[in-house]
């Protein structure tokens, strides 16, 4: 067995792969946040709760209606996306004219309420959700045992991230969206219904969070705290990538997953902190983030 920095090679490769898998979740979650921030200028602190709601929607669909994983992968984002639509229409849209901080406070408050309600009804230790039969089992890669489901998560995450980036950067719809962010009155003058566009964008960001929630349900137990465990890290990812930069948050998500994975081998106690150390360093050197445009 060969060694790299005193760690057996196969173990290190395994850790790199695990880092990529976790990075896929970071990328998917930060993508939704980046879309919402980039196009709406709202710091959506409720993102973690919406991610949790996505997982719970999948669990509820299975438990009460017998609807399995595959339909839930579509249905749950639709349901939670509709909830996001409602949220945007009723409360969030009232804050666009105010400072960022108000949006942050409102969405933070919303996330406390949502988590509290779920905790009250479902307790704190979570609900079991099985891996779908088609993806259970694992593949022996020689240097590690790779669960098929985790492989699926990475593939789906990459596809969804790339598709979102394509839509926003390369299509006419994306161009309209970006134009609306730059100069809303002008776009409206061209006959585009900007408020509706904004509402739908928020709903799409929320749907992405719910989609990640369904993906996460079989790996982590479905519990009311699952969102708050992720949200702080995901915010760090968005900040490091550059607020609002879509490509930035995708690449940073994967990259930080790997950094975290390596820390778990060399200094496990620091693995919860390393992302914030990176954040501090990046902010000192490039205040706009790795991929952000300087204001």
């Amino acid at each position: 067995m060969f060694m790299i920095f005193g760690i057996p090679g196969p173990l290190l490769f395994g850790q790199l792969l695990l880092g990529l898998i976790n990075g896929a979740f970071y990328a998917l979650l930060s993508l939704g946040l980046a879309v919402i921030f980039g196009l709406l200028n709202i710091i959506n602190f409720a993102h973690g709760s919406l991610f949790m709601m996505g997982a719970f929607a999948a669990w509820i669909l299975l438990e009460y209606l017998g609807i399995g994983y595959w339909p839930a992968l579509i249905l749950s984002p639709l349901i939670i996306g509709a909830f996001g639509l409602l949220l945007e229409k009723t409360v969030i849209s009232r804050l666009y004219k105010l400072d960022h901080l108000y949006g942050l406070l409102l969405t933070f408050g919303l996330s406390l309420i949502i988590e509290g309600l779920f905790r009250n009804y479902y307790g704190s230790s979570g609900m079991p959700y099985q891996i779908p039969p088609a993806l259970s089992g694992a593949t022996d890669l020689g240097f590690m045992f790779m669960p098929n489901y985790r492989g699926w998560v990475v593939v789906v995450a990459v596809v969804v991230c790339f598709a979102t980036w394509l839509v926003i950067e390369k299509t006419r719809l994306g161009a309209t969206l970006r134009a609306a962010t730059e100069n809303a009155p002008m776009v409206q003058a061209f006959g585009v219904n900007v408020p509706r566009l904004v509402t739908l964008t928020y709903a799409a960001g929320v749907a992405l969070a719910a989609f990640a929630g369904v993906l996460a349900a079989p790996i982590y137990s479905v519990n009311p705290n699952m969102g708050s465990n992720f949200i702080i890290v995901v915010f760090a990812v968005v900040v490091i990538g550059g607020m609002g930069s879509i490509l930035g948050s995708i690449l940073t998500g994967f990259m930080l997953g790997v950094v975290e994975g390596l820390t778990k081998v060399f200094y496990p106690q620091g693995s919860a902190t390393v992302i914030f150390v990176v954040m501090v360093i990046v902010l000192l050197m490039r205040p706009a983030g790795l991929f952000g445009k300087a204001a």
Binding site: S124, N225, Q269
Partner: protein
């Protein structure tokens, strides 16, 4: 600006929640408080330990009041509830306020070893009875023992001795620990290591995982697997443990022949995991609802008050502890019991208690409550016959062997 990590909903709420017991506690004058007994249930109502304590513990206290029959004897009992949010300062603050202002006579439950030790100090200073049912650290009856403290349900020594010892006997001679990086995790690792070594086993390594905030344990599990240890000891609790078990199955760690030792697993954790993921797990509890006719009967009474949630050992310990306390109060009369917590505990140590949850219990000089412990194995989905039918009994460890010998704990009360 505060550092990033503490910005959770709990830190932000911390200051507001310190005021919570004020809202929950009925305000009464001192004259009225002197008439009856006040029990304060201090636990986690909103965080990771809610399901092992929380509202079900409160239901257990109410059931204990009913079963004790003290109300019929003219002793009024009030119950106060506080949420310590797993913060020692918040927990100690509530305990102090209960003692100083609300006239609470006994504090019960208190999961989380850090909070438990802080509250023990307050109870001692204020001369109030302190029955801890849900914290792990064996230090409560060791160096940190107090004349007002009783440790009711389990402790790290008992878990390490029972589960650890059983695993070594089954051939698990080499160990690797995945340890939550805080007081409880390290205490559990220390105690288990001692047993493994004294039984002739070896410890190949350990990894300290950040607590709280770790959700993905696959990396640590692979490190454990790479050490070629026969047993991976999980020195953690709650969702950390359930995530470890789930992910060990996912990464083929357990199917590769490595065994998992869940050193602290509650029935609510098994419920959360589902039998498919938890089957075969060996664990120790001092109470299981389906143990005998008496445990089934008391569970039936409690679930009527707990929305059907079956109590785990920590909550059953709250029932048992509150019942024993109320019986002592009835024997001593309320004014005498209220006058001194230490005197009440002293009296309790001379008595023998019997209840439906734990059977016969006695209390030792260091405050350790003695009753049998049970080694269980989690059933497979095929073996389970219905909701909450999760365990099969492997062995019963008699009360006199289940806990740390009196002289080994280093409790100053023992030599005094």
């Amino acid at each position: 600006m505060t550092p990033i990590v503490p910005i959770t909903r709990r830190t932000l709420l911390g200051s507001t929640a310190a005021a919570l017991p004020t809202i929950l506690a009925p305000r009464r004058g001192r004259a009225q408080a002197a008439a009856g007994i006040k029990i304060g249930v201090l636990n986690d109502m909103s965080g990771p330990y809610r399901d092992i304590s929380g509202p079900v513990s409160v239901a257990c206290v109410r059931q204990a009041i009913e079963d004790s029959g003290v109300v019929a004897k003219g002793i009024a009992v009030d119950v106060l509830v506080g949420d310590h949010q797993n913060k020692p300062d918040v927990g100690a603050g509530i305990a102090r306020q209960w003692a100083d202002r609300d006239g609470v006579d006994m504090i019960i439950d208190v999961p989380n070893s850090g909070v438990a030790l802080a509250v023990a100090g307050v109870a001692r200073e204020k001369d109030k009875v302190y029955i801890n049912s849900n914290a792990g650290t064996a230090d409560l009856t060791g160096p940190a023992c107090a004349p007002t403290t009783l440790h009711w349900t389990y402790d790290t020594w008992m878990l390490a001795h029972s589960t650890g010892g059983a695993m070594v006997k089954q051939g698990g001679t080499s160990w690797f620990f995945i340890t939550a990086d805080y007081a409880f995790g390290h205490a559990l690792e220390r105690d288990t290591t001692a047993f493994v070594k004294s039984a002739g086993g070896t410890v190949l390594g350990s990894v300290a995982t950040p607590f709280p905030g770790t959700t993905d344990f696959s990396s640590f599990l692979l490190q454990a697997q790479a050490s070629r240890a026969k047993v991976i000891g999980l020195c953690n609790a709650g969702s950390d443990t359930t995530n470890c078990i789930k992910q060990a199955a996912e990464f083929g760690v357990t199917s590769g022949g490595t065994k998992l030792a869940g050193l602290l697993v509650f029935v609510s954790d098994v419920h959360a995991l589902g039998l498919k993921a938890a089957a075969g797990l060996v664990l120790t509890e001092t109470f299981y609802w389906d143990l005998n006719d008496r445990t089934r009967a008391v569970t039936k009474r409690i679930t009527a008050k707990s929305d059907g949630v079956v109590p785990g050992m920590g909550q059953a310990g709250v029932y048992s502890g509150a019942l024993a306390y109320l019986r002592t109060v009835a024997a001593m009369t309320a004014p005498v019991a209220k006058a001194s917590g230490a005197k009440t505990v002293e009296r309790m140590k001379t008595m023998t208690f019997d209840d439906d949850a734990f059977g016969t219990s006695t209390i030792r000089a260091d405050g350790r409550v003695l009753h049998p412990a049970y080694l269980f194995e989690v059933k497979t989905p095929q073996e389970s016959h219905g909701a909450w039918d999760y365990y099969k009994l492997l062995a019963t460890i008699p009360a006199d062997q289940a806990f740390r010998p009196l002289t080994d704990g280093g409790c100053p009360l023992v030599h005094a």
